[in-house]
């Protein structure tokens, strides 16, 4: 069927700030979807309050609303824009739930907005367990014995009848949040209680647990003519019981016979057809490892994390096709973009193995509960692909920034029975524990009994242990070509060989190349080489013929991506990498992207001229560089991961565009940095690099408490602590084994920051950002505001002046982020990051200054600033608030108190004419609407006159929380303020998080929250309109 011409404009709902369970994959889906709709000539109106996304760039949508993702907000936007259609299946569960609520509230009907893609009925059928179960019964598709419950009592009865273990899955949640497996009645009650609270519709599914079954997923695409194709099937190495987002996943499935595959495939097609899905759909099955019995676990009637993985694994752009199917096309009418001459109804076939490995934040948060279950805990993931399973797996692991050695010291030191105990706890370390047990000779059969991981995968792990032993038995001098070839083919890194053989990585590299062992590059073409394809998407292999045919006569630049999403290095760097690619393309430079994150836009093969899906370790980056004949590299945009490669790449003769590792060191090495600031007479904190406990004690004695201690070269403030007394210092000394550390005097004050693009002499500063919280809160976790609300112009001038001095002294080129501390009127430079930062996308969007593009052109040598450009915004234009979003609800044991170590997973922005209105929007949520009498629990001594006045104005009752509080009291609160470190405070915060109550630990945040609540009227406006308004007022003022 041809496209729908009855509609002209389409509202797309994004998935909002990044949280665990909903990350960059929806930026990838949304970006593809929006550009597919624009390609068809539709006007795209996008709502997404996540500023770090690529989809919210003006290139992908006609109008972008950075507005709250609530029904009220969407209603206002719909009323204003009157879109003809709405597409809700690109924005994750958030988008789907919102669209569902808009429909239920009659808003879509009232404004005659057509629901595109799968119908509301379809979504209801797939999402509501009761309706879904009834439908599956009708289809004769097995679902585990289960019951939908709305209260604990029914759950208890079910448990007594069915027996344990029982799995609890709340309906309408993110990433399985709030679910779990109960082994006895008390656990069941606790889980159900939490689950009901978590569920947006107060509903839980409790079912007989089938933990231990194989978990198999199918990515299905269906059109309105009932053509239904399988894009990819995937097998979770971790069996049912561990969330697929926390599982090591392999594609295609490895241990299913043809008979089993067809059995599940037919079921998938039958279910998707019956549901009436139009677009992408994910289906999860549990298959008994010892019979043909299977169960249906879940259907997601939308694109998902798995569909992003399937798209990258196969080269089939699911979201792009899904968007076109939603506006009426059928699969046979669309072309497959990689093969060009094939219709998009051609099922992808792959001739390599794909492995996805999750990335968790536990190393950053030792107190968090590492056990995995039905609630997802990973913040990101990496993917590896190759012609054999071992190297595909190792590539994924090499991509995690955790080194290339699978031997972990703390596991090597542990006793065997302790390791076995750890294994039963199913933590994120299970793969490394299994490896260590295999090294100690543990049998595959025993490990299978303990983990239910299929013996096939365990055998593969054992092969890796075997390889380790073979490597250990060789030496650098005696290694033969065939042996080394085998090690490389199976994925052993140069770095690992260097460590084992006590030589440098360079020596290994040279010897390897001398022996003629070099990687080749195979194409991802979706058809296993059967047809000619025009793909620009490659992966390396140390065996076979290369398919790379590159021209070396055109100027080309390598962009190093940022790898898996983690706390402190999120999708903002993907935004910057992609913007850099666009800027290079505009400058007619060939773009080569290397990255390994399957969730992101940068790894969409449509972005760069060529895409290499590879780990970001030196070996693989150099391999690509050599294969392409690259001499110039951009490292400023991929965050710290890319920056950390700088020095080594230089040693290999590469030109880091616009910067040298020497300059980077001058800014990142604390000693050199302070020297630089002293030379320029720029004030900074007193600080010292200390090499030992003793030096640390002496330094602290000299500086006095409080001090800020941190390791050098950190991401997201990892390992940073504020030490304010002797006891804390002693505790730190006991705990910390690694020196040197940096000890800085900690100064109470305000914080501010800005990003700039410089050309070696002049700089462009589009905006200054003021942090709401005082010093000591990581910039990523602070609420911040543009333009500054309380910085005097004198202070702002000083900030700019210091930046100018640094830029000129270093003749700095490219992007730079500078953080300041302001104490009274004195300005100190806290740190300088010689790279893109978290705030670059925000600033670019709200000021309409393409910072990355400017920086890229400068770095290419194609652009100069004729003067310093310092933008001055006033509150008359608009106020933009950036606020952190936390996933503490998914990470039990992680205290929500903010500090120097970053904890938030994402961020949102809100824009309004006043600061107060922006704050109101920042904290919009449906809970506020449900509760009539607003109460905020206050723990500690914050209950003073000023707070009372603010609360009164907002209609909020402040309640003093004693050490003993009731759960009921908690449930009635809209927020909790608890700034202290005591055990009771921690418990209180944990309880609040469990009940999904906003928790503040800094007084300033609470104050601005109250200021926001006091606002009654608020309105929505597109970013474009805000910018137009600014332009107009500027014109007026010029006249």
């Amino acid at each position: 069927m041809p496209k729908d011409t009855s509609i002209q404009s389409i509202l797309v709902i994004g998935s909002g700030p990044i949280v665990i369970g909903q990350a960059a994959e929806f930026d990838y889906a949304g970006t593809q979807g929006c550009s597919a709709l624009k390609e068809e000539g539709y006007e795209v109106i996008l709502v997404n309050n996540n500023p770090a996304t690529i989809m919210s760039d003006q290139a992908f949508a006609d109008r972008v609303y950075f507005e709250p993702l609530t029904v009220d907000s969407l209603e206002k936007i719909i009323e204003l824009e009157r879109p003809d259609g709405i597409l809700a299946t690109l924005g994750g569960q958030t988008g789907l739930n919102l669209a569902y609520q808009l429909s239920e509230a009659g808003i879509l009907e009232r404004f005659q907005v057509k629901f595109l893609g799968s119908s509301i009925e379809t979504i209801k059928k797939a999402e509501d367990r009761e309706i879904f179960r009834a439908l599956m019964k009708e289809l004769n598709e097995p679902v585990p014995e289960s019951e939908i419950i709305r209260d604990v009592e029914t759950a208890r009865r079910f448990g007594q009848m069915i027996g344990f273990p029982i799995i609890v899955r709340p309906a309408y949640t993110l990433g399985g949040t709030g679910g779990g497996i109960a082994n006895h009645l008390a656990e069941l009650e606790a889980l159900v209680k939490g689950g009901l609270n978590e569920s947006a519709i107060n509903q839980c599914l409790i079912e007989k647990s089938i933990a231990g079954y194989k978990e198999i997923e199918f990515e299905v695409v269906r059109d309105s003519t009932d053509t239904c194709i399988i894009i990819c099937n995937m097998e979770n190495i971790d069996p049912v019981g561990i969330h697929t987002g926390d599982s090591i996943v392999v594609a295609p499935s490895q241990t299913l016979t043809n008979d089993e595959y067809q059995l599940l495939r037919q079921a998938a097609v039958k279910i998707v057809s019956k549901l009436g899905i139009i677009g992408g759909c994910n289906i999860q099955f549990a298959l008994d490892p010892t019979s043909r019995n299977y169960y249906l676990i879940e259907v997601n009637p939308r694109v998902s994390r798995s569909s992003a993985l399937a798209s990258k694994a196969t080269g089939y752009p699911i979201a792009q096709i899904a968007a076109k199917l939603a506006v009426g096309y059928s699969l046979s009418e669309l072309y497959h973009p990689l093969t060009k001459h094939k219709s998009s109804s051609f099922e992808p076939v792959i001739d390599y193995v794909v492995v996805k490995f999750p990335k968790w934040a536990f190393n950053k948060f030792p107190a968090a509960d590492r056990r995995l279950g039905t609630q997802m805990k990973a913040t990101g993931e990496a993917m590896g692909m190759d012609r054999n399973l071992e190297r595909a797996l190792l590539k994924a692991i090499h991509s995690l920034d955790g080194g290339t050695d699978l031997k972990k010291t703390y596991l090597i030191e542990a006793a065997t029975d302790h390791l076995e105990q750890m294994l039963t706890e199913q933590t994120d370390e299970r793969f490394f524990i299994i490896m260590e047990l295999l090294r100690r000779g543990q049998r595959v059969e025993t490990l299978f009994e303990m983990t239910k991981i299929d013996r096939f995968f365990l055998q593969s792990f054992k092969k890796l242990v075997n390889l380790e032993q073979q490597v250990a038995a060789q030496t650098f001098e005696t290694i033969t070509k065939s042996k080394l070839q085998m090690f490389k083919e199976k994925g052993i890194s140069d770095q690992y060989l260097a460590n084992e053989w006590h030589v440098t990585e360079r020596a290994i590299r040279n010897k390897r190349k001398m022996l003629g062992i070099k990687p080749i590059y195979k194409m991802v073409d979706t058809c296993a080489g059967e047809f000619e394809a025009y793909s620009n998407y490659f992966y390396s292999s140390y065996f076979g013929e290369t398919e790379l045919n590159v021209r070396k006569d055109k100027r080309k630049v390598l962009i190093i991506g940022s790898g898996p999403i983690r706390i402190g290095q999120g999708i903002e760097f993907d935004y910057c990498s992609v913007q850099a690619v666009f800027a290079l393309k505009k400058a007619m430079v060939e773009t080569i992207m290397i990255n390994n994150n399957p969730e992101t836009v940068s790894t969409d093969y449509k972005i760069a001229d060529r895409l290499y899906f590879e780990p970001l370790i030196l070996e693989d980056v150099l391999n690509v560089i050599e294969a392409e004949g690259i001499t110039e590299v951009l490292i400023q945009f991929g965050g710290q991961t890319a920056l950390n490669l700088a020095e080594k790449l230089e040693e290999y003769g590469l030109t880091l565009l616009g910067i040298t590792s020497n300059k980077i060191n001058q800014l990142e090495d604390r000693k050199q940095f302070y020297q630089l600031l002293d030379d320029l007479t720029i004030p900074h904190m007193d600080g010292e690099i200390v090499q030992s406990e003793k030096e640390l004690s002496t330094a602290v004695k000299k500086m006095g408490f409080p001090v800020l201690i941190r390791p050098s070269f950190v991401i997201g403030g990892k390992g940073m602590e504020i030490i304010s007394c002797k006891t804390e210092l002693e505790r730190y000394i006991q705990k910390n084994r690694i020196y040197p550390v940096l000890a800085d005097r900690f100064l109470q004050g305000m914080e501010a920051e800005f990003d700039l693009a410089a050309d070696g002499q002049h700089m462009y500063v589009p905006a200054i950002i003021e942090h709401i919280e005082r010093t000591g809160v990581h910039s990523g976790d602070s609420v911040s505001v543009i333009p500054p609300q309380s910085l005097t112009s004198d202070v702002q001038e000083k900030m700019i002046g210091y930046a100018r001095l640094i830029v000129q002294k270093l003749q700095y080129k490219g992007l730079m982020n500078i953080q300041f501390i302001i104490n009274k009127e004195k300005v100190y430079v806290l740190e300088v990051n010689p790279r893109a930062s978290r705030t670059v996308p925000i600033i670019s969007k709200v000021t309409d200054v393409p910072l990355v593009e400017i920086a890229t052109k400068v770095l290419l040598g194609k652009y100069h600033l004729s003067n310093d450009v310092i933008a001055h915004h006033s509150n008359n234009d608009f106020v933009c608030v950036k606020y952190p979003v936390f996933s503490t609800y998914a990470l039990k044991g992680l205290d929500s108190k903010v500090g120097p170590e970053m904890k938030s997973t994402g961020e949102g922005i809100a824009i309004a004419s006043t600061f107060e209105e922006a704050m109101k929007k920042a904290f919009q949520n449906d809970r506020l609407k449900k509760i009539v009498q607003w109460r905020i629990g206050i723990k500690g001594n914050g209950n003073d006159k000023r707070l009372k006045l603010l609360a009164e104005a907002a209609g909020v009752k402040l309640i003093d929380i004693e050490d003993h509080y009731s759960i009921q009291q908690m449930k009635e609160m809209i927020a909790l303020f608890s700034p202290n470190e005591s055990f009771v405070d921690r418990k209180l915060r944990e309880e609040a998080i469990k009940n999904r109550i906003i928790t503040f630990t800094e007084r300033e945040t609470l104050e601005v929250f109250l200021q926001g609540l006091a606002v009654e009227e608020w309105s929505v406006r597109s970013m474009g309109d805000w910018l137009d308004r600014v332009k107009k007022t500027k014109e007026v003022s010029i006249r």
Binding site: S253, L256, T257, N258, V349, N388, F456, C527, E545
Partner: protein, 138 residues
């Protein structure tokens, strides 16, 4: 031991025999199979009688060969070429590995071949024959 796949007389792909090395050259029609699953059915498919079958999916034999359904059926294919065949298959019904099964029926299997590269040579030809041999190219 090394084995060789010759296409069109001049193009040669080196591999290793997983089954007993061929004593005499085998000259047959060669076809490729791009499916990622279902090698067991390809081997007994009468369409491929006596032909050399080359698998593009690189990892073949993951779930072995099941006793009840397949082990007594004589494969119809004449020879098999793969990148990697799995020695330790895992499936509750599996009673032998792919190599064992083929050995039992005397079907040669050559492994460690860049099967994708071979398929790219084959894809534009309606029919092509190939020679499997234990002799190195001259």
């Amino acid at each position: 031991m090394n084995g060789y796949l010759y296409l069109d007389g001049d193009q040669c792909f080196k591999g290793q025999w997983l089954t007993a090395p061929l004593e005499h050259n085998v000259n047959r029609k060669i076809i490729f199979f791009t499916g990622m699953i279902g090698y067991e059915d390809v081997l007994i498919d009468p369409t491929y009688t006596n032909q050399i079958v080359i698998f593009t999916y690189p990892l073949i034999g993951t779930y072995g060969i099941s006793y009840e359904e397949y082990i007594h059926k004589k494969p119809s294919v004449g020879a098999v070429v793969v990148y990697e065949a799995v020695d330790d298959p895992s499936h509750y019904q599996s009673t032998s590995s792919l190599t064992e099964y083929l050995e039992k029926w005397n079907i040669p299997m050559l492994s460690h071949v860049d099967t994708r590269a071979v398929v790219k040579k084959l894809r534009n030809r309606s029919s092509m024959s190939a020679i499997l041999s234990s002799s190195e190219p001259i």
